[in-house]
């Protein structure tokens, strides 16, 4: 039975290791799309719920699948398959292929593993693996921009990991168990909830923790951006679902903060995204914005446990929707970039338009469904917030539309660079696959999601008026990406400098004193010794000693 869980993880790991051997590389590249296949199969075929334990692994690991994680596993695997296929076209045989492949495969392992992990440590292990391996994906281009983005990325990753570690440790200690299921059902303290939310929010890219996300997406090569945006940031959501006591415990404060930041995120990200001129960065901001929606849902869930079952279904659906659509958009951008001829570009643009529309919430698409379902689900939540939420949600459709338009324009102006070897035809298959999956999501969802599909099916029709308001929001575009201005390289020095200075000062002082002492130490004994032997003080001491002992003894007689 264990093999079922081990294989999806083992296969990519094994392939990564085999990359060491040059002879195996072409073969591995050929297998790249298939690396996530076992995971997909597992998601599709495994009976739910399912669990196994590996007591020896890492303080007792356990793996399993439930309804939610099965869905996550499914779309994640799908995305990785598509990205793998694209990557094969994109990189195979280029100088950087080895590093990319290893990081890609390790990140894949992490991403898949965290979904099937059922205990905190295993989860954390895979989460970290994914985060750190992705660094290699981000800086793949080795350009200045890529390194800047990578540094920003890694700084946030570390921040997130630390928060996560602390949160998990606290939570596990509070729950007295390391099983995620126990964590979810136990009473969670405010602190650990905050830490967990913080850790995962970094991954989600919720403002103000989003700084890493757009640059990273912009800098990473297309296949990497696809998984980063499509699969990996969902891990943040998944993490929250997996660890927080959603539906059992109300954490109103946290919920409030989440909702507020989510709301802000939705719009601010759009405003920031509009001012970008790199299409992939624009897509990145779009992801941030979308994640704001998800944060909204989460916040609501935190405030009102009762609404959670509905919210959960919506959130899962939204995740799947965004994953597929965003993945398709990125791959499409790549496809566009790889085109050399005008006709090809037009064709590619048409292909890209489909997921863009889906994302913007065109009627009958998963985007529209998701928003409506969220609205109805939020209706079960907090009364006070509801009006604002409805407004916000509605406007977000507008914002996303604007952003997609911006994406189209920038894509046309500055298509992402594709390696010369990239064959457009090769990318078509994977892109089309994802586009179709994104488009077809509303139709296959009821079958795929089973019980979780109910709220989606029940969602009402979409409103179209928000489009009108879109223009006014463009005013916010002047809020440019000022936040990017601050470089992180100063950070390190600023911490270390005072310490170094104090230490150096102390060392210098000690050295000076020591030199002086050494001088005296060298000279004094020489002089004293010289004098003593010259004056024969040693002889004098004989008499002195006798006198002293005599005096001492004389005192003794009295």
């Amino acid at each position: 039975m264990k093999i079922v869980f081990i294989l999806p993880l083992l296969l990519p790991t094994l392939l990564a290791m085999l990359m060491v051997f040059p002879a195996a590389r072409p073969f591995i590249w050929r297998l790249m799309p298939l690396a996530a296949l076992p995971a997909l199969l597992l998601a599709l075929l495994a009976p739910v719920p399912l669990g196994v334990r590996g007591d020896w692994l890492l303080m007792g690991a356990s793996f399993g699948l439930d309804e939610v994680s099965r869905l996550f596993l499914g779309f994640t695997a799908l995305l990785w398959i598509a990205a793998g296929a694209a990557a094969r076209e994109w990189f195979s045989g280029t100088p950087g292929e080895r590093g990319f492949a290893v990081c890609f495969l390790l990140a894949m392992t992490g991403n898949l593993g965290l979904i099937i992990a059922q205990d905190a440590l295993g989860f954390y292990a895979f989460f970290a693996l994914m985060s750190f391996a992705s660094y290699g994906l981000v800086v793949q281009a080795r350009s200045q921009a890529a390194f800047e983005a990578g540094r920003l990325y890694i700084a946030f990753v570390i921040l997130g990991e630390l928060a996560l570690f602390a949160g998990l440790a606290l939570a596990a200690s509070e729950a007295g168990s390391r099983l995620l299921a126990d964590l979810r059902s136990a009473e969670l303290s405010g602190l650990s909830a905050s830490l967990l939310l913080l850790g995962f929010s970094v991954k989600l890219g919720i403002m103000p923790l989003h700084f890493w996300l757009p640059p990273a997406h912009g800098a990473a090569p297309v296949p990497a951006s696809a998984v980063l945006s499509g699969a990996m940031i969902k891990a943040g959501l998944f993490g929250m679902l997996a660890t927080l006591p959603l539906g059992t415990q109300a954490l109103p404060d946290h919920g409030t903060v989440m909702m507020a930041t989510g709301l802000v995120t939705i719009f601010a990200a759009v405003l920031l995204g509009l001012s970008q001129d790199n299409p992939k960065t624009v897509l990145g901001f779009s992801s941030v914005s979308q994640m704001g929606l998800i944060a909204l849902g989460l916040g609501a869930g935190l405030m009102a446990p009762a609404a959670w079952p509905a919210l959960l279904a919506v959130l899962v659906f939204m995740a799947a929707h965004h994953a597929l659509a965003k993945g398709a958009l990125f791959l499409g951008a790549g496809l566009f970039g790889a085109q050399t001829g005008q006709s090809g570009r037009v064709l590619a643009l048409i292909i890209v338009a489909v997921p863009a529309l889906v994302l913007a919430g065109a009627p009958a698409t998963s985007g529209a469904l998701a928003k409506e379902a969220l609205k109805s689900a939020l209706a079960d939540g907090s009364e006070a917030w509801l009006p604002w939420l409805i407004v916000g949600l509605t406007l977000s459709g507008l914002a996303t539309t604007l952003l997609m338009a911006r994406f189209g324009i920038t894509l046309w102006r500055k298509p992402p660079a594709a390696p010369s070897i990239a064959v457009p035809e090769g990318l078509v298959l994977s892109t089309l696959g994802l586009v179709m999956a994104a488009a077809a999501l509303p139709f296959i969802w009821p079958t795929a999601a089973g019980p979780l599909a109910a709220p989606i099916s029940a969602a009402g029709p979409t409103e179209t008026w928000p489009l009108l308001l879109g223009a006014t929001l463009a005013l916010g575009a002047w809020i440019r990406a000022r936040a990017l201005a601050v470089g992180p390289q100063v950070f390190r020095d600023q911490i270390a400098r005072p310490f170094v200075r104090v230490a150096k000062g102390a060392e210098k002082f000690v050295a000076r004193q020591r030199r002086a002492a050494a001088r005296i130490g060298r000279r004094a004994p020489a002089i004293v010794g010289e004098r003593a032997s010259h004056w024969r003080l040693g002889h004098t001491a004989v008499a002195a000693l006798i006198v002293m002992v005599l005096i001492i003894e004389a005192n003794g007689w009295k």
């Binding site: 004056w535 024969r536 003080l537 002889h539 004098t540 008499a543 002195a544 006798i546 006198v547 005599l550 005096i551 004389a554």
Partner: protein, 317 residues
């Protein structure tokens, strides 16, 4: 009313102390040596006053006579030496003297606080004198009661002669350290006359030691004087070929003494426990051997270097 003898003692004592001081402060080194000889003789006189004729004799013969000879010989060799040792600063000297004065005060205090005339071991010696084999108590102590000390004392002499042989290698080109050439004929004739007489005196002293003041050391010293005269008058000149013999004579005392001491052990006796009926014989035997040894050793100490040193190795180290 002061006892005139005591007055004499006081004057003698003062003279001895002043002589001691003079010895150390007198400029001329020859005068210094002469004064130290005088000092030794006065001390011997004082010891006679203290009823210690054996000691006085030993001091006169060895402590004064032979030491004086040694000093003179050395003085001859190093008299060319300029006074090139810078004296200590006055302050240091004053401090030293002050401290020495304090030492003196302390010791005198302790001495005055101690009653004289403790019983000591005199009674024990007298009680056991009969078993010792000799009649003279000092000889009994030396050769029987504390024979071990005496043996070791002879060992000290042996060490000294070995050390002197090793240290002193003569002067490669410098004149021989003898008084020979300057002494002229008179001393030679004097020596011819005097030598047999001294020899007889030495033998007598040895013999008489068992019952009256005198004994191996005094006898040996007198005989050593014979040797020294022989050397001075160049009647005898040490040759490298004489070395084995000389070595033999040097160790004779120690070897004989030790052999007797060890051989008497056994049959329930411990080392140095002479069988009662042979005690006198054995002691005489030992004394004879030791006297010979002492005489040869002291003469050799006077002569200094090993005979071979000049002829083959010179002053080379």
């Amino acid at each position: 009313m002061i006892d005139p003898l005591l007055l004499f003692d006081v004057i003698l004592g003062l003279a001895i102390v002043s002589l001691a001081v003079t010895v150390l402060v007198v400029r001329d080194r020859f005068a210094m040596i002469v004064l130290v000889i005088v000092f030794g003789l006065m001390s011997a006189l004082a010891w006679v006053r203290l009823a210690a004729p054996d000691v006085a004799l030993a001091e006169a013969a060895i402590g004064t006579g032979l030491t004086g000879a040694l000093l003179l010989a050395t003085w001859r060799q190093v008299r060319t030496e300029p006074e090139r040792w810078p004296a200590l600063p006055r302050g240091v000297m004053v401090i030293n003297m002050g401290l020495c004065a304090l030492v003196l005060a302390g010791l005198v205090g302790a001495f005055l606080a101690t009653p004289l005339g403790t019983p000591g071991l005199g009674v024990a010696v007298a009680d056991n004198l009969a078993d010792s084999g000799v009649e003279h108590p000092v000889t009994a102590v030396l050769l029987n009661f504390r024979a071990y000390d005496t043996l070791m004392e002879v060992v000290v002499l042996l060490v000294a002669v070995i050390a002197v042989w090793m240290i002193d290698r003569g002067v490669s080109q410098a004149p021989q350290p003898t008084l020979g050439p300057e002494l002229g004929d008179l001393p030679r004739g004097f020596a011819r006359l005097v030598l047999p007489a001294i020899t007889v005196i030495g033998a007598y002293l040895l013999w008489v030691g068992t019952s009256a003041p005198g004994g191996a050391f005094q006898g040996g010293a007198v005989l050593a004087a014979v040797g020294i005269l022989l050397l001075l008058t160049q009647r005898y000149q040490p040759q490298p070929s004489h070395r084995p013999l000389a070595r033999g004579v040097f160790v004779l005392g120690v070897a004989g003494f030790a052999a007797v001491a060890l051989l008497v052990a056994g049959g329930g006796r411990v080392p140095f426990e002479y069988p009662a009926d042979h005690a006198k014989t054995l002691i005489l035997l030992i004394e004879g051997l030791v006297t010979l040894s002492i005489a040869a050793t002291l003469a050799a100490l006077f002569h200094g270097r090993e005979p071979e040193a000049i002829s083959t190795q010179g002053g080379r180290s």
